[in-house]
Symmetry: C2
Subunit: 304 residues, 2 copies
């Protein structure tokens, strides 16, 4: 599974505390979450300030760093502060630094991977990555955000037309489709190309559309949300990581349609763990049996 | 099953249209929703302007109107307007009229009912109704709102201490408990008396706490929300109506714990139908097979 996106340093303030600088970025969160299911291969760029201990964390989780380019300059830096209820956040700093000239190049060793997940980067770059892969994949898709939807709509539409799935949040789905109602929004977005759509709703869970069915899962009730940064990317990493780890090929006629539903649960599980500590801290200690335990909790609290 | 609350006329404006005056009130919505499962007996007050066709609608649904008092004056009137996304509403008019002096008296024929559901009225009145019932009931509970939580807290705490269940929305649960986190809020509220708590989350579904378990259900995705007025009350009516119709006695040791979960689904089903038309209009045509069909839809879109 190939993951393309940002590797960054973040400064985050939540009602539970403040961290001035810690490892972050969409590619980081996606790859860490996916690493519990498969061996992610990342494509990203960092600057000269990227720290040894952060390489080590990624490598220790079995993440292939062949495509992690290091160039002169500083690593992408983002800083934000969350509202009291953590449903809103304000960006205080966005220093793109070396990320401004990011032009993802896939190492030869990645090109036959069957799974490709694009974090939230410029749609034209996402398309260039897709084009670098050899032939048809089992599954390709990714994320985007309001900025690309508003100001790069044409590029974005060309990009997602080539995808099997799109993962976005509810506000972005409404913006992309021009529909306030989520059923109507989903129908329009599926008409744009991706046959699978996952709408993330933060603490309210997620909705999957697949074939002519949809699947809804509530958000896990945490005792404390320390830091929601990266939760959506961890969802994406758990979702795609599970499908890649099980080698699910959605193009096969005999595919288990419920595999996608289980993937949404694993995405929700990884997103929930992400929020339990600041930044990527929870992934230092997380175990497979904790993941399986939380999957079973989802079964228990949704059964009737 | 006895239902106490308001019978009113409402004026409602939503993005889908405007109705100047139509049948409404918590007791009305609860009883109509419950009437698909059991024979509700209502306790409420109306004025001389209460129309024959509105009596007829309630009677045609098999609702016992012995406790519907008619007194000189006008029926409670409420008027409000919903925001574009229907997540907010503004109250424009509240004319309590005859409801200002409402002092619910249970007809003798109601006093041996085993199920008692209190709509959102003054907590002291709710307690007086409880006291009028003969002995221990299978199930007693109800609803409240921010106004009573803020300004009648002492009264309210005495009232819910006698209840088996409390149904409130997420904002009210946070206000009542002083906890922003819903897990913590639920634990505090259960400590106040009711062993069963249902937190309604509007379009995001509901959470049930029962015993040491909790159950989460997403909100049904409607093609169009015409008018959300009364949806919470219809939830309550479906929830309690199902339990009464099945004669579930939660005090019995051999009770099926999942009956409460199914009751939450029926509540969600009735709330969803309520939103499909203005006011109570949907209940003119709703059938049992539509209700069963939507229950099965909930099974389908939550299974994994």
């Amino acid at each position: 599974m190939v993951v393309v996106g940002s590797v960054a340093y973040d400064g985050v303030e939540t009602p539970h505390g403040k961290v001035d600088r810690m490892l972050g970025g969409s590619c980081t969160y996606i790859a860490l979450a996916a690493s519990f299911f498969t061996e992610p291969r990342i494509v990203a760029v960092v600057g000269e300030d990227f720290e040894e201990k952060d390489y080590d964390l990624l490598a220790a989780r079995g993440i292939d760093l062949t495509g992690l380019e290091r160039v002169p300059g500083k690593t992408f830096f983002w800083r934000g502060v969350y509202s009291h209820d953590m449903n809103d956040r304000e960006t205080l700093t966005t220093d793109l630094n070396v990320f401004a000239d990011f032009n993802p190049r896939l190492p030869a060793s990645y090109k036959q991977s069957q799974y490709l997940l694009m974090g939230n980067i410029q749609p034209a770059l996402q398309r260039s990555v897709r084009a670098q892969m050899d032939g048809a994949l089992h599954l390709v898709g990714g994320d985007t955000m309001n900025y690309w939807i508003q100001d790069f709509r044409g590029e974005l539409l060309k990009t997602i037309a080539e995808w099997d799935f799109l993962l976005i949040n509810d506000g972005e789905a409404r913006m992309l489709s021009g529909e306030n109602n989520l059923r109507k929004a989903a129908a329009k977005i599926i008409g744009m190309g991706p046959s699978i759509l996952v709408i993330k709703r933060g603490e309210h869970g997620a909705i999957l559309w697949h074939g002519d069915r949809h699947f809804m899962v509530p958000g896990y009730l945490l005792d404390d949300v320390f830091d929601p940064t990266g939760a959506g990317d961890c969802f994406a990493g758990g979702f795609m990581g599970y499908l890649a780890g099980e080698n699910i090929d959605l193009r096969r006629a005999d595919v288990d349609a419920n595999a996608l539903r289980r993937a949404v649960i694993y995405g929700s599980v990884m997103g929930s763990f992400c929020c339990e500590r600041f930044g990527v801290e929870r992934f230092h200690t997380l175990t497979h049996s904790e993941i399986d335990g939380r999957f079973e909790e989802f079964k228990e609290f949704t059964a009737f």
